[in-house]
Symmetry: C3
Subunit: 340 residues, 3 copies
């Protein structure tokens, strides 16, 4: 079994995926989890396996702040303890592990490590999502059959857009000025394409300007949460905060070879322009579903079950940020292992 | 490879699944078997793998009391010995293992252990099938991707009906009086629901009675043959033999995680009532295919390749009979292992 | 991982499968390969895995005698060396292994062993293909989920046609005179069916003759290249070269349990008879796709992951040639292992 970072918040889904008294089954880091929502709206996460006969609780029903197993009727509360046994007394073993859950930034977050360390302050700051009117957000979920670190690599090296997304986003990053640095436990990489011909996806923003300065930045934090900032200005015009857009790319391991990819694009400009939102939605879907996903899955197929580093990848300059990020994550996982 | 009980009769199918000179391929306890019928009607079972090049004999043809391999024409008789080699002499190695087969109670039975111990008297007594006119029987076969002992557990604990089959069979067993006991190598469990509101599937039998006494009994014997007796009487009326119905639930291991589930419902009442038979047929199919099967398969998926006991299931009072049955079976398998 | 013969030419495909500047991805002996064609028409084979991030090169583009990775734009020439790195200098590690490729007899051949030993003179002599006008050839490709040696066995023992292809090709070989012999590293087996009733597929050739002499010969060479010669004459008439037809059966291992089956039927008679070609094409497709392939795949399913010899197949007289061929191949593979 692969090693995953435990003491961290993983995004389990988007808030709207969990209806009132609804159920969401999602495996994270190979742990089968069931999420449900109590009457007061709070969400909860339990091991999705009844301790009696191992039926998935997600095949049951939610009502009155409890989830009832669909097989023999054992009911569990938000803390994972059995609150109803139709067949006898409630012994202490009748419990499933509960996981800390917090809803923030329109996302559901679950902590897979020691519950006492589950500080909500450790949830990544994605306040740009909250600051964007819902209609101007483009949130999505794309399950992908590749290791989550391959998906992080993808975002931490945007030069790939020039080759994989030539008709929408690409054409500017390979030749852009780029730096990357470690900022505490964060990894930051940016690109500045000056006086460039704007790629198609940027043209609508530029009001017909034929030359642009395009700034892009990715901030990564463990395990694989990335915010991609971008701003396209007419060439020579200074970048202003209101020109910026920020997109979450959050790669959540389901297993060693499958990933829950959550994304949410926000922007500070043209936020009331619904046709523009719709245009971006289509452009992102094309890039993610038709271009990134097949490449990532074929990449994983070639890697198979091998360890990434064992295959001795040739490192290029463009891999600086992703290598930093892999190293930070590896050290954090190793530190947890040493502490165990 | 899982350990299975060897010296026992496994149901391989229903008699009508094997046409005159027909072929039936079925893997039992991970042994690939081919069944065919001789001209006099007797059925035979051989290893379904030609000793020459390992083609499945079931891909061949049956005629004149022999099965002929479809690849190179070697023919084998009912005893597994080669009776025709188009390419030369018949050497003694040209043989496949034959298994004792008996047809009884409308079922085909095969003995996977030592042939000299294959006493037909050891076939479970299912004479209630023979006593029921064929049109009043509801026989079926439901392959299920779950371990056969999970399917036995299902029948040995009918309280599950209250949760899994609430609209047809459920609602009475959790609150019923229940006892279980071991009777030699059999496990017997019964439920008596007195003065209960009859579940929908029982209403037709009760001629409009609003309150009923419903008696249910399951008799298990190794490896996983169960007869479920049931009788629904108007509340306060004594049960008579002619009120009873008996249903076979026979769980035959195909592999460690897949099962051949054979069932046959019989009854002593309304045996000429074809619409009632049709109604029951639909009710059973709904319960088995739409409710039991998905739950059992999801249960197996959560268990994966793990050993059931290693996962430390929490035992409830309702697990008494299934735990007894698992123990009896385990002891019989262990005894065979010790004798080997 | 299975052991394969390395120092040999494997057919990777038919020439027309690789268009000018086209790409062909094919795994041979578990090695993922990408084939592409340079501007001058020469074909090349590289490991189909970029050394940077392991994307398959076959997901990229071919132009100007190079293949460009579709993920980050690294380009590789026909010798496997990187010829363009958009992101920095070309270090020596930026290379993929190249494999010798030769196109001959309408086929693309790749050498998987030591490049310095890749002598084109070692390519099997299939000049009968070149001598046949393209319209009179019937070339095909049938991927089959069975070990390549099972496919060789199939051709080296044509008695199977009497049982597996009774309506087209069969009926004559089991009773024919047959000999097999080793000729250096080749294995030769022939059948002579004298004064036989011609099978349906031969009737068109015989102009209504009711009795025929049919000669068949298979010449095998490692790893699994077979030429099947056949001639059908009116009974008593001497065989002339112009009566003969030759068909390639080339079994190329993809993995231990999957095979690329390439075939090409040629003949010296009725070469301008397009309806006859069309008739043969249908007859071959029926025999291969509907009869051989299912049997071979079911055979493999019964063998599973076991070693063929460990299962102790009973050897018949008809297995003489295939046993010789398996032994020759085994010795050649063992010799390579000893030399390593």
């Amino acid at each position: 079994m692969a090693r995953y970072l435990k003491n961290t918040w993983y995004q389990a889904g988007w808030v709207e995926e969990l209806a009132p008294e609804g159920v969401l089954a999602r495996t994270i880091c190979e742990i089968p989890l069931v999420f449900f929502r109590c009457a007061d709206g709070t969400a909860t996460a339990l091991i999705d396996r009844c301790p009696h006969r191992f039926a998935p609780l997600s095949a049951g029903k939610v009502a009155h702040d409890r989830i009832t197993c669909g097989y023999h009727g054992l009911a569990f509360g938000a803390d994972g303890r059995c609150v109803h046994n139709p067949h006898g007394p409630i012994v202490s073993a009748l419990a499933v592990r509960a996981f800390p859950v917090v809803e923030r930034h329109s996302a559901i977050w679950v902590w897979t490590g020691a519950a006492e360390q589950a500080d909500p302050a450790l949830i990544p700051d994605l306040s740009y999502i909250d600051e964007t009117p819902p209609l101007a957000r483009i949130a999505g979920y794309m399950p992908t059959a590749a290791n989550y670190q391959l998906l992080s690599d993808n975002i931490l090296d945007l030069s790939h857009a020039d080759f994989l997304h030539p008709d929408t986003l690409g054409g500017i990053n390979t030749s852009a000025k780029s730096t990357n640095r470690q900022d505490g436990e964060r990894v930051v990489v940016d690109w500045l394409a000056e006086n460039c011909v704007p790629p198609p996806a940027f043209r609508a923003t530029l009001h017909g300007a034929e030359r642009a300065d395009i700034w892009t930045e990715v901030v990564w934090q463990a395990p694989a949460v990335m915010t991609l900032g971008v701003a396209a200005m007419e060439a020579g015009v200074a970048r202003r905060p209101q020109d910026e857009g920020y997109t979450l790319h959050n790669m959540v391991p389901e297993t060693a070879t499958t990933t829950h990819y959550f994304y949410c694009a926000t922007r500070r400009f043209r936020i009331d322009d619904q046709p523009f939102t719709d245009f971006l939605k289509v452009a992102l879907a094309q890039a993610f579903v038709e271009e990134d996903k097949p490449m990532l899955e074929r990449q994983q197929a070639r890697i198979g079950q091998a360890d990434f580093w064992d295959l001795q990848p040739v490192l290029l300059k463009i891999d600086g940020a992703s290598t930093r990020a892999r190293r930070v994550l590896q050290e954090k996982i190793a530190a947890e292992g040493a502490a165990d």
